[in-house]
């Protein structure tokens, strides 16, 4: 209905995509656990913004519902759950230990983004068909978000940022998904959103257990075998 709005919506969606990518970089680069969580919240909000923009052009209640669902579960319910589950001192600790230092980590992340663009290049629609502009933005950036989440998962040695990396992967997949397959039934999205919460819950409990056992949540330390003293 709104052919005139399409370029502006597309540009705003591109902006959301750019910031989405930036927040994924932020999750790779930041040192604090709390900063990592904040970047994740920002990323989820941008994902929701993209869903709203996609749902506005040919008005689709389904995409708007996806956006609302994302806002509720990922930017409000999930941080609240994590705050409740994981002890406060994890958030107040300043430094996260990483397997790779941050400048090289950023460069690797950059390589991953380039790779994502090259990988998705053959599948991008070329013409000016309806929604082609959205797919051109969302597919590569979503793929890049997925790869960066996987990378965060791989290099962090702390349980909570690893969990956030996993959730960022899910964010990336969603970001690509809303543009590529906007017709996905709502029940699938609901199931995924619920899954995310269960995942966060389980990993939160796990983190808590690790913390009780070893006195810290640094997963890196678990690499060394520790024998129980003989009683």
């Amino acid at each position: 209905m709104s052919q005139g709005f399409e370029p502006l919506l597309s540009a705003l969606n591109a902006l959301a995509g750019g910031l989405f990518l930036l927040s994924a970089f932020g999750m790779v680069a930041t040192r604090q656990v709390l900063g990592c969580l904040r970047f994740f919240i920002a990323q989820s909000l941008l994902l929701a913004a993209s869903a709203f923009l996609l749902g506005a052009a040919p008005l689709s209640a389904h995409l708007i519902a996806v956006g609302l669902l994302t806002i509720i579960t990922k930017s409000w319910l999930l941080p609240w759950l994590l705050r409740r589950m994981v002890r406060q001192e994890v958030y107040t600790r300043r430094e996260i230990t990483q397997a790779v230092n941050i400048p090289s980590s950023l460069l690797i992340a950059l390589g991953l983004v380039l790779g994502a663009y090259f990988l998705s290049a053959p599948w991008l629609p070329a013409g000016a068909a309806a929604g082609a502009g959205f797919v051109r933005i969302n597919l590569p950036i979503g793929l890049a978000g997925l790869l960066l989440g996987a990378y965060t998962l791989a290099v962090r040695r702390e349980a909570l940022p690893q969990l956030l990396g996993l959730l960022a992967m899910e964010n990336g997949a969603f970001f690509a998904g809303i543009a590529v397959a906007p017709g996905l039934s709502l029940i699938a999205e609901l199931a995924v959103a619920f899954d995310v919460l269960v995942l966060a819950f389980v990993l939160g409990v796990l983190t808590r257990m690790i913390h009780e056992r070893t006195g810290s949540t640094e997963v890196g330390r678990l690499a060394a075998l520790k024998e129980e003293p003989f009683r």
Binding site: L15, G17, G18, L107, A109
Partner: protein
């Protein structure tokens, strides 16, 4: 023809006149945020007046470099002013003398001589600050290059006057991800190049922690005045490039009439005031980074710039 030369010289006059005022306003606003009274906004002018009327002391061991450097530091921003849009949106007489790469080189020349002069004195703090400045600026260099390449790729030109038109001609272009990411990267670059807060504390007086300030420690009298004035002008010029070329190319004079050009002066100053307000908020809410964290800060700027470039290249 003659009017274009005159306007070009007017730009230089504007930069020379208002650069200290901008520094004064920035200092005053910062003091007000910290709920102190602070010096008057015209204090930088008084400082310059005082310094120009004082005797100059020159270290015995220093060579000609030490004496020449204040003039180079003072003159390089003036040269840059000839190349960039300060007041008008159409190219002036000297606009095609050099492009944005030229701007970068000319500004780097001033920094290079300032670093040499700092090493030239036997003061132990000088070389320390000089090497730190070099570290910061060689990390900032790739960011500048990527920003420059992306911007000129989009505009199809490297002349700042032509570049500024391409981002806003359809207004939707303003929201392109490449543009927004570039704005962020260039902002981080400005803070690094002019020694503002996340990278360096301009109002710190502790020599061991100094980065940018320690280069001028040995200067007194006229030399100190020229170094200070040059530093303010460099800051003013960089902010002008940022605002007039990248962020808000509005409010510049479009016609040849003298009234229009003079009307552009308060408009440009207003834009700079808005920028200074943002800067004050940042400077008052962030702490200075540890020295070896600067590489992370500039690494983030580099990644932002490259992400902008990728987004631009693949969006076509």
């Amino acid at each position: 023809m003659t009017t274009r030369i005159l306007y070009n010289l007017l730009q230089v006059a504007v930069v020379m006149t208002f650069a200290p005022l901008m520094a004064g306003v920035l200092a005053k606003l910062k003091e007000m945020v910290q709920s102190r009274r602070g010096p008057s906004v015209f204090q930088p002018y008084r400082d310059l007046w005082k310094l120009f009327h004082k005797d100059e002391v020159i270290p015995e061991e220093s060579s000609w470099i030490f004496r020449v450097t204040p003039y180079i530091v003072f003159v390089t921003p003036i040269f840059v002013t000839l190349l960039i849009p300060v007041l008008t949106s159409y190219p002036l007489f000297f606009a095609f003398m050099g492009d944005m790469l030229g701007v970068g080189f000319v500004l780097a020349l001033g920094g290079f001589f300032a670093a040499l002069a700092a090493v030239d004195t036997a003061n132990p703090y000088g070389p320390m600050g000089a090497s730190r400045t070099r570290m910061v600026s060689f990390l900032a260099e790739p960011v500048f290059m990527i920003v420059f390449f992306t911007v000129s790729f989009v505009a199809g030109s490297t002349i700042p006057y032509i570049v500024q038109q391409s981002w806003v001609t359809p207004l939707a272009n303003f929201f392109e991800p490449a543009h927004v990411l570039l704005l962020l990267a260039f902002f981080m670059l400005i803070t690094a190049e002019t020694g503002r807060i996340p990278v360096d504390n301009p109002s710190g007086h502790f020599e061991l922690a100094m980065i940018d300030e320690s280069k001028g420690l040995e200067y007194s009298g006229q030399g100190a005045a020229l170094m200070k004035w040059g530093g303010w002008m460099k800051f003013f010029v960089l902010v002008c490039i940022y605002l007039n070329v990248l962020v808000t190319p509005w409010g510049l004079a479009g016609g040849q009439a003298a009234g229009e050009v003079f009307l552009a002066i308060p408009l440009v100053l207003l834009k700079i005031l808005a920028f200074v307000l943002v800067l004050v908020v940042i400077e008052s809410s962030l702490a200075k980074l540890r020295l070896f964290r600067i590489s992370e800060f500039l690494g983030a700027a580099f990644v932002t710039a490259v992400a902008a470039m990728i987004a631009q290249l693949f969006a076509l």
